[in-house]
Subunit: 468 residues, 2 copies
């Protein structure tokens, strides 16, 4: 997305200067204005331009968050919540300037309730940070979007990743949360009950709101027991369609697969080169099963039979931890492996999600489009959810190539929406997908806008994101 395509946000230079001045007095060293830091706090992960904020505030408490929101509200300055900066659609950019509110110092694990399989954390704690602290409890937090993102940021973008087919997304795994709203009020959306019918689902409203309705400061999360046994492996298929059919059959048979990841032929080539995996350069499924010793063996055998029926295989699986780790490290390195296909290129990472019955068609049409447009763009997918990613590798000096990539992304998104899917399964809207939301949701975007106006009438929370 070129800078001129990103909706502009009017810049309130005077208000921002006033807010930054007051915050400097109130926060001292916790407010910084150096250029390098400001640039690092704007979008850096894909090719969306970097739009730095005017200052970065490091919150160390809910009180700090209230101070930043309160001062910015008073002066009409934007506040952009920042976790680890790993979001992919420009969420942390500051198109109208303002203050980046860095949550990375709020990392306390407040409580672990092992009997209830839940914990409460501050929003800046990362998922790996949480799992490291949970290690001795026999529990883990299963949502794994790849990056070591902050849990607040993962909630704000409704993140998911490889485990979602079994454990759900942030939508299903946030029991409740606390947020500082635009008016400075601190709202807790509920307690720790596993279900509730007590009024509007404010937790779900804030999950996925991308910092535009409130600043998430605390989360109560569901945890899962570390499985007694894990089995997994890689299974090659003659075609993407066969791999998708195997996925559908696996889910229809009720095999509780924990991960089922498609890697297309080009991505397999990249992985082989980068991670020295010894597999054919055909579409593969990386799968993993969680359960009892007997259960995961039975599940792996059943999956192997499904694959064989569809011309896939051999399905080589293992329950040895070190072998599985190597496989999943390779899967997680897909991004870097892809980038290594074209040194010096910049990656455009985009995601869509469709009903799984349409997945094979959607990927086939997308691969055809990639070939026709002469792009270099591997595909990986969380196919149990119908979600896949395309990483378009671009020479940023080549305007024609960038234009082609943008056209490709637009076609991909419209294709997914046309198949009753969505323009984003897990990355969020940010700036990059704003243009596709009206086509997907029509009047639903107006409802979002009315909610935004009601809860943030001055439009200070992450303006210029989700919708304009």
């Amino acid at each position: 997305m070129a800078l001129e395509d990103i909706p502009a946000v009017p810049r309130n230079a005077q208000g921002i200067a006033a807010a930054v001045g007051v915050l400097k007095q109130r926060l001292g060293e916790r407010l910084q204005t150096g250029l390098a830091l400001r640039q690092q706090h704007a979008h850096t992960t894909t090719y969306i331009p970097n739009q730095p904020p005017d200052a970065v505030a490091f919150a160390e408490s809910v009180e700090d968050v209230r101070t930043v929101v309160g001062v910015c509200a008073e002066h009409g300055a934007p506040v952009i919540a920042y976790g680890t900066g790993t979001s992919l659609e420009g969420h942390v950019n500051a198109p109208g300037g303002g203050v980046s509110l860095d949550m990375s110092r709020m990392t306390r694990l407040i409580a672990v309730n092992a009997e209830d399989l839940d914990c409460t954390v501050e929003a800046g704690l990362t998922r790996q940070g949480l799992n490291a602290q949970l290690r001795d409890t026999g529990l883990f937090f299963p949502i794994d979007p790849g990056a070591n993102a902050s849990l607040g940021g993962m909630a704000a973008t409704r993140a998911s990743g490889t485990n979602a087919v079994r454990y759900g997304t942030m939508r299903e795994n946030v029991l409740s949360l606390t947020a500082v709203m635009a008016d400075g009020s601190v709202v807790k959306t509920g307690g720790r009950a596993r279900k509730s019918s007590a009024g509007y689902d404010l937790a779900r409203l804030l999950v996925g709101s991308e910092g535009t309705l409130g600043i998430i400061t605390e989360l109560t999360l569901r945890l899962a027991g570390i499985p007694q046994a894990i089995s997994g492996g890689v299974c090659p298929f003659p075609s993407v369609a066969a791999a998708c059919q195997a996925t559908i059959a696996t889910i229809q048979l009720g095999i509780p697969v924990a991960r089922i990841e498609l890697v297309n032929a080009l991505q397999m080539r990249a992985l082989k080169a980068y991670s020295r995996l010894d597999y054919p350069e055909t579409p593969c499924l990386f799968v993993e099963f969680h359960g009892s010793e007997a259960g995961v063996a039975e599940q792996a055998e059943s999956f192997g039979e499904i694959a064989a029926d569809l011309g896939g295989g051999p399905f080589l699986w293992t329950s040895k931890a070190e072998e599985r780790t190597k496989l999943w490290q390779a899967r997680h390195d897909a991004y870097w492996a892809s980038v290594a296909l074209r040194p010096g290129a910049r990656a455009l990472s985009t995601d869509v999600c469709v009903p799984i019955s349409r997945l094979a068609d959607c990927i086939a049409e997308t691969e055809a489009d990639i070939a026709k447009m002469g792009l270099l763009a591997p595909i990986v997918g969380h196919v149990g959810d119908g979600n896949f990613h395309v990483l378009v590798l671009m020479d940023m000096e080549n305007a024609a190539e960038i234009a082609a990539a943008e056209k490709f992304v637009a076609r991909l998104n419209r294709r997914a929406i046309g198949m009753d899917g969505t323009c984003t399964g897990e990355h969020g809207v940010g700036q990059g997908k704003m243009g596709f939301l009206p086509g997907e949701l029509g009047g639903g975007v107006d409802v979002m806008r009315e909610i935004k106006r009601a809860l943030d009438p001055k439009n200070i929370l992450n303006p210029g994101k989700v919708f304009s």
Copy 2:
């Protein structure tokens, strides 16, 4: 709850008369004003007083729904969505009069997508109606609140029931929905992708909104495969605490129990008398496992060992359908069995939900309260979720008894909230729980009110519910 305790809603008699007049012309026989029908469309299921609407409109299409909402909005008349009238907290009452919008003629099963494990239905279709039509597909809709409620009503109250511990609640099982909003716009919240990060979660906002934000007309629901095998049975325990510990251990060990229902000693006495079950009058767990033949046998054996370790048992289980059906019929008849304990009594059904680590304490304190207050009140619980119900049997001629029951309910709700739980796990707020919501959510109720004002500025959609 006495009539004087229910927050009043100002009655716009002139506007209602005008709206009913116009609707009579527009809808003809689909608009009815007979008293019996109007009373039947107001609250009838527990002891909350009946507050009939001024008219009942039978919608046969989205256009009819738009007509009713549009005319009522123009004249400032309330619109109360009505499914089957089985809600328990006064949701369908018309405290300010207006038009009951009966959805029971909108019962089409619009599409079944077996490969995607989803279907799309009109909101008036009931869950049993849906499951009857799904029978030949190998799929079923797992949410079972007991009553044969409409799917739109189940979504509106965020219903759940016995299967929720495994399959989730309406929150997790509505992929997307279509609703007519207060301004007459028809909003579709998304497509059929199993996950999405495309903006605010409007589906989750409408699920549980109890007809106050929009009238749900269509739903896309997740389906589950009918399990290959089912095992289940009843296990007696020496105490509620032991039964709760067994539940916690079962879930912590990752045994994917499909149903785990606590029945306390008094409720067992009622069931024995009503359903001729041959079990001791001690707390029991009714459990059910879904999976492969080997899987459900393994799960039942594991559960039996857990129970024995805690002094429970014997756990007699079966995978024979007719025996299981008899058990679950008895569990589903708990309401009628309880009422039969005291012929002529009226039942006050209330539900709360707490973290499961607090469940044993919460039920023990509640049983002590029942005894101390001299009430007759059996308890059943979806204990895998920490959710339980108390059915207080009252002589409606005895004011002191009613006052005691109300005091008991208030204490129960405050107890649950004090244990980090909620005043309602699945019944919803309606009128009956309005008084407890501020104590549970504080400023969260203000956020709800702001959303309501933004989306329904004239307050025509189910006024006088959830919050005042």
